[in-house]
């Protein structure tokens, strides 16, 4: 026993002295794992174009993150894998066949403008992937709304309507029957055999990933459930396509489970999460019914992101024992 010698190296710090040992990197790795089924489904339905889009977005995001940190003379944060998550989420929210230079441009915007300009991980007020998607949708509306039919390998990208575009006209009485024939079957919508963004089409794959995140306690149920329930409730009241069709279309599920649950841009209290999720669902449906674009999920989440600090303040809990 040589306590004297060893003691020079003993750590001295404030308690607690043990840790759960889940770091930021571990959490990001879980999110990446949870996105793999949806990514694989995207590859299956949209082929090599999807693979290229994912590869370009992820590598551009990581490179931009590294360069930004270097330019800002801050320690590198590439190792926390958050840039990989942003790149992957952005790619999954782009249509297959998008020109790759546009995908790269969106990735640079996501990291440099939406994330690092605000100070990097945790500091961004808006979800970087969604901010980039919004930027691209406004700037390059044509390519961002050119959808390719699934499983059309080798064929030229064709402009075909997504279920949401078909459903746009369905709100209000009487129209449902007309558009009904244009929609894919519920089974196709569930497994993802429909036009749409690379990662948003397969509800089955997204739900599998979501189940993993819930099991790992990376996310809680509050935001996604409030999101989906409020969207379903709105569509039940507003008419048009059936609630389950609304939920299976567009970016609603990937939005509810993977985008709206982004830590930095969503509230922390349970009540706050429920308010936030419900607001997302409601806004999403309002945009789908009345907005210029067929899909409103990204914009809905971005708008609610802006309210996050306020929701956090309004829903702050009283301490245990406080009057």
């Amino acid at each position: 026993m040589k306590p004297k010698d060893e003691s020079r190296h003993w750590l001295l710090s404030s308690s607690p002295h043990v840790h759960a040992r889940t770091g930021v990197r571990g959490i990001m790795l879980d999110v990446i794992l949870a996105l793999l089924p949806a990514t694989a489904a995207g590859f299956w339905f949209f082929g090599m174009d999807a693979v290229f889009t994912v590869a370009v977005c992820v590598s551009t995001c990581v490179a931009t993150e590294a360069l930004c940190r270097m330019a800002m003379k801050r320690e590198s944060t590439v190792g926390d894998l958050s840039a990989v998550v942003t790149g992957l989420l952005l790619a999954l929210n782009l249509p297959a066949g998008i020109p790759l230079h546009l995908a790269a441009m969106g990735s640079v915007f996501a990291i440099a403008v939406a994330k690092q300009a605000f100070g990097g991980i945790g500091m961004n007020p808006f979800n970087p992937a969604l901010a980039a998607r919004a930027f691209m949708l406004i700037s390059f509306t044509g390519p961002m709304t050119t959808w390719r039919a699934p499983l059309a390998r080798g064929a030229e990208a064709t402009t075909c309507a997504t279920p949401l575009a078909s459903m746009k006209t369905m709100f209000g009485a009487g129209a449902a029957a007309d558009a009904g024939g244009a929609l894919p079957s519920v089974w196709d919508m569930f497994i993802g055999n429909m036009p749409g963004c690379i990662g948003e089409v397969s509800a089955a794959a997204l739900l599998a990933g979501a189940a993993y995140l819930l099991w790992r306690k990376v996310i809680s149920w509050h935001i996604p459930v409030a999101f989906v329930v409020s969207a379903a409730a709105y569509s039940a009241v507003a008419g048009g396509a059936a609630p389950h069709v609304q939920i299976l279309s567009g970016g609603l599920l990937i939005g509810a489970f993977f985008m709206a649950t982004d830590y930095a841009t969503s509230p922390v209290t349970r009540t706050g999460k429920l308010v936030f999720g419900a607001g997302c669902g409601l806004l999403c449906m309002l945009i789908r019914q009345f907005g210029q674009y067929p899909e409103g999920c990204s914009f809905a989440i971005l708008v609610m992101n802006a309210f996050t600090p306020l929701i956090d303040r309004w829903t702050r809990r009283k301490p245990f024992g406080a009057k």
Binding site: L12, H17, T22
Partner: protein, 463 residues
């Protein structure tokens, strides 16, 4: 007497790896009195005791070394016969300096040295509560759970306040520690005697004994010891969740009452909570006239050769405790006085035990962590984990910019420093430490303002 399950769920909490298997099977082992003891005058919460011995004095076990010095204070008695080598300032487990009486226990008793003081055993049934309380006060007893609140003060509710529930804290929710567990298993009859004495002093409140469900042997031992006791007595089995041992949370989990914000105390909710070790020691002080000058300390951690539950005199040097447990198996990365969630890291083994030293942990590198704090990712784990429902993330941010006033608005004074927030923080942020700093700054400011006001009042008085 019956055993019930807790009906109230506390907010937040975490599930650290418990690692109690290292020492839970080890029966309490009495350690021979070491050659040197360093007895702190600050073993309890409140004003340190006033030292009344000097170098060269020969003292007897049980003899007074320090007198109670204030309302919230406790006296200190000699844990063994010995020659006072020095009265000196030494760092305690927290690093704060305190007066210590250093005893050489090997020195022979000089001729004509008085015999050790004797304390008559009392029969609590025939002794009136004031005399029982006087015995507890003269014993210098304080809470053995960790905070060390003087027991005599706790057992005398202020006028107008009544104790309706006497809660015996056997949760021992800190990982690694098994001292309370062993006391419950081996000394359940002493706990019963202590409960009966405390009940008499407090005017027959209902009794609740809180134990976490991961201690079935302790529950069985208590059930056996308490069989046939009259009155309203229940063993409440709490689910395993850190920090069930926190006074406020224990009160809520066992009887569903809420202690108001500080400076309110449990008695404001009609409750008095005492640790199992304290209750057992209380019985010994009254019924056997044995002064509480030793305690059970769990010496454990993967770096200790033989983890043990050691009954050692209060004042034993950590180095002697470790040597009694076979020394170190591997070099520790961190040595902690107390449990891993709330204990204090110590720089070396020259610190000595006190009445509140529940454990000594030698943690190897892979069990502890050295963090570099990253930016907050706003995941909310600290908010979910906080049993006081505070917003650790915002408090930490406020303290990063040195804004203690903002932290105060976020109710940081309610923080119990349990460590649940930092435990789960994926960015390894010093959340608990920020709360601690905020509290210290706020307290210092309040004290400065009070002093200023007092000075101003004096000026006015002169004019």
């Amino acid at each position: 007497m019956r055993t019930v399950k807790s009906a109230f769920k506390i907010a937040g909490g975490v599930h650290p790896e418990y690692r109690k298997e290292l020492a839970r099977g080890k029966a309490i082992e009495e350690m021979p009195v070491p050659m040197t003891l360093a007895v702190s005058m600050s073993q309890h919460l409140g004003a340190p005791a006033k030292c009344i011995v000097k170098a060269g004095d020969y003292v007897r076990r049980g003899q007074l070394l320090g007198e109670k010095a204030g309302f919230i204070s406790a006296c200190v008695r000699a844990p063994a016969d010995g020659l006072v080598k020095a009265v000196e300032q030494r760092p305690g487990a927290t690093g704060a300096l305190a007066a210590h009486v250093v005893l050489d226990t090997a020195a022979p008793a000089p001729d004509g040295a008085p015999p050790p003081p004797r304390f008559e055993p009392l029969d609590w049934r025939s002794t009136d509560p004031a005399a029982l309380l006087a015995r507890i006060e003269e014993a210098g007893m304080c809470g053995m759970g960790g905070a060390g609140f003087p027991t005599a003060v706790k057992l005398s509710p202020p006028p107008g306040k009544r104790c309706e529930y006497f809660i015996v804290n056997g949760a021992e929710c800190e990982p690694y520690l098994t001292a309370d567990f062993r006391v419950m298993v081996e000394r359940a009859d002493r706990i019963r005697a202590g409960v009966e004495i405390a009940r008499k002093i407090l005017g027959s409140p209902a009794v609740r004994i809180a134990v976490e469900s991961n201690k079935p042997e302790a529950i069985a031992a208590l059930e056996k010891a308490f069989a046939g006791i009259d009155g309203n007595v229940e063993i409440v089995v709490l689910p395993v969740r850190y920090p069930h041992g926190s006074e406020k949370h224990q009160i809520y989990a066992t009887v569903g009452r809420v202690v108001p914000e500080p400076p309110a105390l449990p008695i404001d909710a009609g409750c008095v909570v005492e640790n199992v070790g304290t209750v057992a020691a209380l019985a010994d002080a009254v019924e056997k006239g044995e002064m509480p000058v030793s305690r059970v300390t769990t010496v454990t951690g993967e770096a200790v050769a033989e983890p043990k539950n050691v009954l050692a005199p209060c004042g034993t040097l950590y180095s002697d405790l470790v040597a009694f447990c076979g020394g170190m198996k591997e070099p520790p990365a961190k040595v902690v006085s107390g449990g891993p969630m709330m204990g204090f890291a110590v720089p070396d083994l020259s610190v000595s035990t006190t009445k509140t030293t529940s454990g000594l942990l030698l943690l190897p590198k892979e069990r502890t962590f050295q963090y570099t704090a990253g930016p907050c990712i706003n995941c909310g784990r600290c908010v979910d984990a906080c049993p006081m429902r505070l917003d650790g993330r915002e408090i930490c941010r406020a303290m990063e910019s040195g804004d203690a006033a903002a932290a105060e608005k976020l109710h940081v004074m309610s923080c119990i420093e349990c460590g649940a927030c930092s435990f789960g923080c994926p960015a390894y942020r010093p959340i608990t430490q920020s709360c601690r700093r905020a509290k210290a700054v706020i307290r210092a400011r309040a004290a400065a303002e009070k002093a200023k006001a007092a000075a101003a009042a004096k000026e006015v008085g002169k004019a």
